[in-house]
């Protein structure tokens, strides 16, 4: 039993931290980047590709690092600390993982290598209007038309689809099974309605009208595959949330020490310091279940209960820590000029992505049994 990072993992953490520090040393720098149309830094992305960050979980034959969930969590925790807006999970890890599981060797090589190299980006178009985790009744149709398959339907929201080159799309076959398809984002018949999120990310609603698509896999594996992909992605986001919570707790602690009210620093008010202690508790418990969920994935175990428990604990902690960080900052906490509000936005988003906290509680409740 061992919770320590290996020397290689520690080195990775240091490298990633430096990379982010170069780009996001202040909230002004980060806001400048996230207010561009793209919403993230292409120069950072290229460096991330060069240092192997984009290829972390992929096989070396595609230019990847052959690393795993622990390394992803290490990187994502660092991303969370500085609120890095780059869509690592949405544009690379999740779609790449689906491709590596669902596609044939030729497709894998063709699609994953450029993702790893930073030349293209992907997105996973699965959710449809009105769908809620864990159920998503896919209604997008995949029709065989001679040699080719044509997709018709609507996907929303699709994170990172605004800048994606390659779309991995779930659709219903004429036999009633669900398949995964690769679609060129520049295809005729495909409309993209780009949106921004409250946490300053990007995505798009996709409208498919007889768009040519390349089949990757078909049900029943697709359901299991999506479950596995979501569990990997949400666990990476849990690590990001832990990083964000740690950073905003530190920000709050520093503020309590520095800010004077009624002639004394805020840190002399016990109601505030004790709440900071509760925030610390929330972060560490969330961290513990994130570590456990990550370690399970690293051991090849896809356990929905572990994953949902981490998500529940992280979701509760995210809301509590994010809200209280803003509250304890007072007025400055709710302005965009100061980092606290951005942490709250991001933590709010994470606690409602890949299933909300309530959704995961509901799911865990459905699984309760006598031991």
């Amino acid at each position: 039993m061992d919770f320590d990072l290996s020397p290689e993992q520690l080195a990775l953490r240091a490298t990633v931290r430096d990379l982010f520090a170069d780009h996001y040393d202040s909230i002004e720098q980060r806001n400048a980047v996230s207010s561009t149309d793209l919403g993230w830094s292409e120069s950072l992305w290229r460096q991330a590709a060069t240092m192997g960050l984009l290829g972390l979980p992929f096989d070396e034959e595609y230019g990847g690092m052959g690393a795993g969930p622990v390394e992803i969590s290490v990187a994502m925790e660092e991303a969370g600390r500085v609120l890095a807006p780059e869509p690592f999970v949405e544009a690379v890890y999740l779609p790449g993982m689906l491709i590596s599981r669902a596609a044939n060797p030729e497709q894998r090589k063709r699609m994953i290598a450029p993702l790893v190299a930073g030349d293209t980006r992907a997105a996973f178009a699965h959710d449809e209007p009105g769908s809620r985790w864990p159920t998503n009744r896919v209604q997008t149709q995949a029709k065989q038309d001679g040699d080719q398959v044509l997709l018709t339907g609507r996907k929303r929201p699709v994170a990172a689809a605004d800048s994606a080159d390659l779309l991995i799309v779930s659709a219903l076959t004429t036999e009633g099974t669900t398949g995964l398809y690769a679609v060129d984002a520049g295809s005729a018949g495909l409309q993209r309605h780009v949106y921004r999120t409250h946490d300053e990310r990007r995505g798009a609603e996709l409208v498919f009208d007889q768009v040519p698509a390349e089949p990757l896999a078909e049900r029943a594996e697709v359901t299991a595959l999506v479950t596995e992909g979501y569990i990997c992605a949400q666990t990476a986001q849990c690590a990001e949330a832990v990083g964000a919570m740690r950073a905003v707790l530190q920000l709050t602690v520093d503020y309590l020490k520095a800010r004077q009210q009624f002639g004394v620093p805020l840190s002399t008010f016990q109601a505030l310091t004790h709440r900071a202690a509760d925030m610390y508790e929330a972060v560490e418990l969330a961290n513990s279940l994130t570590l456990q969920a990550t370690a399970a994935l690293a051991d090849g175990i896809v356990d929905p209960v572990l994953a949902s428990r981490a998500k529940l604990q992280v979701g509760r902690a995210s809301v509590f820590v994010g809200e209280q960080a803003v509250q304890m900052h007072g007025g400055i906490g709710i302005t965009r000029e100061y980092p606290a509000s951005h942490f709250l936005s991001r933590l709010t988003a994470i606690s409602r992505t890949f299933g909300s906290t309530d959704d995961h509680l509901r799911h865990l409740a459905s699984l309760v049994g006598t031991d």
């Binding site: 609507r154 929303r156 929201p157 309605h193 409250h198 609603e205 803003v326 000029e337 509000s341 309530d358």
Partner: protein, 390 residues
């Protein structure tokens, strides 16, 4: 003990209800009901409609357009205003500076300002908070130095809601920096926002709203006739005003509207085999919120029914403390009901219904309600000290 309305009170309520159901144009009220932002013009025109019927400033003295109502009638007025989704009269005018001028102003000041304030011909903003003085209001640093018949004002105000709309600001300024206690040496000054030296810089809030501002005051010349009350006695005005601010927090109809909206939307959202409104966890969350809302409503009525003197009741701290949290809880409920579409920040860019993205804005924006107007921490301290004697 009788919780039902008397026949007279019922008649009064019905009168209000039928008036408010038509007074202000439906388009404006639809925006209020949907939680959308109103333009300056919409806010002004609704208040002017109310004022034309004597219903904009009922809490003022009758001589200045107020109504000789009982506390219960005043409550029914607020309640029906909100139920009809009519925009509330601008709080800075009607609840804050107006009563202060009516109480502390000279006859000349009253004549000059009160009618225009009631009719929103003057739009007021509040110059109290400063960068270094948050909850600790009395430590403000903005200086006003008397030179002949003017004050020369230098300093900075912040969190100034609607300063970019405002014609005038009522401000606390330090006129005697050597006073033995910092609450002494403060004066209450009215400042024309068009004066040279006044600069307004918007502060973007976490939901993207630009409703609050920094206001820089550089050698602003304010005529001495714009002083309210005595020199160095501004703290008395401030305390009077803050008492009114705290008492004004009881927007239960807004909470009820959010709960109704959440239930309606939930009935359309798939969950398990059925819809979200069938789900027991969701229903329990609603039941808890409805119970709290009702407990707060009845507590508010206890304050209303018990307020003879017009002095603020200390239990109003409780209404602010718990009411602001209930507001936040209901915005969070709607956020959760909206689901993945809530994250799409700008309504209209996709086919998602407008209300869903708005829930995230409302949730984020409402974080301020436990900070502004006396933070929850300040309210707890007030309850501990002035009610419990701790």
């Amino acid at each position: 003990m009788r919780l039902q309305l008397t026949d007279e009170q019922e008649a009064f309520r019905d009168r209000m209800r039928s008036f408010f159901s038509i007074a202000v144009p439906q388009e404006i009220r639809d925006k209020v009901a949907a939680g959308a932002e109103l333009s300056r013009e919409e806010i002004v025109s609704s208040q002017q409609i109310l004022n034309a019927h004597g219903l904009a400033v009922p809490q003022w003295p009758v001589a200045w357009g107020g109504q000789d109502w009982t506390p219960v009638e005043r409550h029914l007025w607020t309640d029906e205003l909100q139920r009809s989704a009519t925009p509330m009269p601008l709080v800075f005018n009607t609840s804050l500076v107006g009563p202060v001028i009516a109480e502390f102003g000279t006859e000349e000041q009253k004549q000059r300002f009160l009618p225009a304030t009631a009719n929103l011909d003057i739009w007021w903003c509040q110059g109290f908070s400063e960068p270094e003085a948050g909850s600790d209001l009395a430590s403000l640093r903005t200086r006003a130095v008397r030179e002949d018949d003017h004050y020369i004002v230098n300093g900075q105000k912040t969190w100034t809601t609607y300063a970019h709309y405002a014609d005038w600001m009522f401000a606390l300024v330090r006129t005697d920096p050597d006073a033995p206690r910092k609450q002494q040496g403060i004066s209450f000054l009215l400042i024309d926002m068009t004066s040279p030296g006044v600069t307004v810089r918007p502060i973007e809030l976490l939901d993207g709203a630009k409703e609050v501002n920094e206001v820089f005051l550089d050698d602003v010349r304010v005529p001495a006739e714009n002083l309210i009350g005595e020199d160095n006695q501004g703290w008395a005005c401030a305390k009077f005003l803050l008492g009114n601010e705290r008492g004004g927090f009881a927007m239960s109809q807004v909470v009820r509207r959010r709960l109704a909206q959440a239930k309606q939307a939930a009935a359309e959202i798939p969950c398990g085999g059925g819809n979200l409104l069938d789900d027991q966890l969701f229903r329990a969350r609603i039941a808890e919120l409805e119970t709290t809302a009702q407990a707060l409503e009845v507590t508010g009525l206890r304050v209303v029914a018990g307020s003879q003197s017009g002095r603020p009741n200390p239990i109003s701290s409780l209404l602010k403390l718990r009411g602001s949290q209930l507001h936040q809880d209901t915005t969070q409920l709607l956020l959760d009901v909206a689901g993945p579409d809530a994250r799409l920040f700008e309504p209209g860019s996709t086919s998602a219904p407008d209300w869903a993205p708005r829930t995230a804005r409302t949730y984020l924006n409402n974080r301020k309600s436990t900070i502004y107007g006396g933070s929850s921490e300040v309210q707890r301290s007030i309850i501990a000290s002035s009610i419990l004697g701790l």
